[in-house]
């Protein structure tokens, strides 16, 4: 969809290029995050795609067409653009801001009004904001308007330059989740610049890690990047928590977790003790019809069925779609180093700390 071939950008008065002979192919419908230390040319690379910055040499094509084959302003009307400072027009209402590109393209007023309302819904913004001015909105709301504006003419390509860099971490997290949810439906081709490796890994279908001087250090899926870093620079950039970051990409359901020391309420005390021994545990869980009732020490087992004893509640539960990083956090807070996996209805099994650490060492 987007193809950079041998693209170099040298700013006047600087010795080394900001982007050096870069080749990069971005497929249709994927999110590619450009990440790297400051001075790696990630923003320059992004801005060359919509010709905010013109490359010194090399060619860039979007959908097979050289981007220099038509006037820059026409190219840009076909590419969504979101920047960190947002840059809403302060003298226009939110509605006028949102339909900036449709207006430039000459859409009629009724269609633009409808589109503005659609986009507000899409971005989870209240319709009443349409008549307000940007200065009346919070930072997070403004940034969502910025994304709505970029989507207004339904462009196949979105360029996002650290769009969530200026909002607080909680709002950023929400915006990231919203972007991923949107992308499920919209399937845009998105190039996303960030300096935050966690954000790059979270959002990117592929991550392009650039090093200072504008060369590609590694271009890979997040999992590949974390499990097979190309060189020391990549390892350094991924940081101490590389293994933990990889855990955040894996889900509990990806592991073969076991049932653990669990017996049905009907089972007798010997069966319960045997189940506990199998896991070298001094406690046993009790299930009722697939639901986990609770647990008790093996020393408390009476002579009747296991279910006739009093049980304590399991306190730490995780869901199959939780990340392994969340699971690890949960597990280490327990005495028994184990978390119960449940979808809220049915008991799936138990996840022991050893299973997670084994994954860490892979």
């Amino acid at each position: 969809m987007i193809r950079l071939v041998d693209v170099t950008k040298r700013y006047p008065g600087t010795e080394s290029p900001a982007v050096d002979a870069l080749d990069l192919t971005i497929d249709e419908g994927e999110i590619v995050t450009l990440v790297g230390p400051s001075g790696c040319g990630k923003t320059t690379t992004l801005k060359m795609i919509n010709r905010i910055i013109e490359p010194t040499s090399g060619t860039i094509t979007v959908d097979g067409t050289d981007i220099t084959s038509r006037p820059a302003h026409e190219l840009r009307r076909g590419i969504g653009y979101v920047i960190q400072q947002i840059g809403l027009l302060p003298h226009k209402t939110i509605e006028d801001n949102v339909v900036t590109v449709p207006r430039l393209l000459g859409c009629d007023d009724d269609r633009m009004a409808d589109r503005a309302r659609e986009l507000m819904d899409l971005m989870d913004l209240d319709q009443s904001m349409l008549t307000r001015y940007p200065s009346e909105l919070s930072g997070g709301q403004r940034q969502r308007v910025g994304v709505a504006r970029a989507l207004a003419a339904d462009p196949p390509v979105l360029l996002m330059d650290e769009p969530f860099g200026a909002v607080d971490p909680i709002v950023r997290r929400r915006l990231q989740e919203q972007l991923l949810a949107l992308q499920e439906d919209l399937q845009k081709t998105i190039v996303f610049v960030t300096h935050d490796i966690d954000e790059a890994i979270l959002l990117g279908d592929r991550v392009a890690l650039l090093r200072v001087g504008g060369t590609l250090a590694q271009y890979a899926t997040p999992t590949e990047l974390l499990s097979e870093p190309a060189d020391d620079f990549v390892v350094d950039f991924l940081g101490e928590e590389r293994a933990l970051r990889r855990l955040s990409l894996l889900k509990v359901a990806d592991l073969d977790y076991e049932d653990g020391p669990v017996v049905d309420a009907d089972a007798d005390a010997d069966t319960a003790r045997a189940a506990a021994d199998k896991y070298d545990a001094n406690w046993v869980g009790v299930t009722d019809d697939g639901r986990l009732r609770g647990w008790l020490w093996t020393s408390e087992l009476g002579s009747g069925p296991t279910g006739s004893n009093d049980t304590r509640d399991f306190r730490v539960w995780i869901r199959p779609d939780d990340s392994l990083r969340t699971a690890l956090d949960a597990i280490v807070s327990t005495q028994n180093n184990v978390a119960m996996v449940s979808d809220g209805e049915r008991f799936h099994g138990m996840l022991f700390v050893e299973q997670v650490t084994a994954e860490l060492l892979k």
């Binding site: 905010i52 400072q85 840059g87 809403l88």
Partner: protein
Amino acid sequence: MTGLATPVEVLAQGAPLVDWAWIQRNTDLIWDQTVEHIVLTVVSVGLGLALSLGLALLALRWDWLSGPILALGGILYSVPSLAAFALLVPFFGFTATTAVIALTTYTVLILVRNILIGVNGVPGDVIEAARGQGYTEGQILRGVKLPLAVPVIIAGVRVATVTVIGLVTVTALIGLGGLGGLILTGFRLLPPLPVMIMVGTVLSVVLAVAFDLALVGLQRLLTPWTRRAAD
């Protein structure tokens, strides 16, 4: 004694400062002079604004021009108003043309400077975002830079207008002057007529205040976005 009396001495001799009878007898004269004052002001500031916009656009198009344009404006601004009229009279006579040319030149420095400050003060991220959405450079100037410069431009128009209202009185020396005509005649009469001087002065101040308030109102009307602050 009478021929040399100053307005203060005349007042001291018992001439009234507020002579309602005189004012009532001369409402037509006062009205005509006020209208002339307003016309000279509006025409001069209007022409000045048009000229300044043109010059500012040149300076914005060719950056190196802004230095010379502002320097020229500065030189024109520094010429004493009396001298300006004296210099122009040989060419245009004792006419409104002379007055308007002189008055217009006084607005140019203030207005060009404020237009440039206003336009150059538009945040870079707003311009980049507009460019990134597909605005042409012309659309950015007309649709983004100039509208956002309106508060600063109107601030310049306010200063220029109040300055011109004061300067119009000086054109009395070439036979115009609006309310300045009243003031000058009041001095020249034998004996001087304090009420004329008073009426001319007070109305000139009233005009300045009224224009300034009207321009504040105009700015609020033109820039609704500046009125609503973030919560």
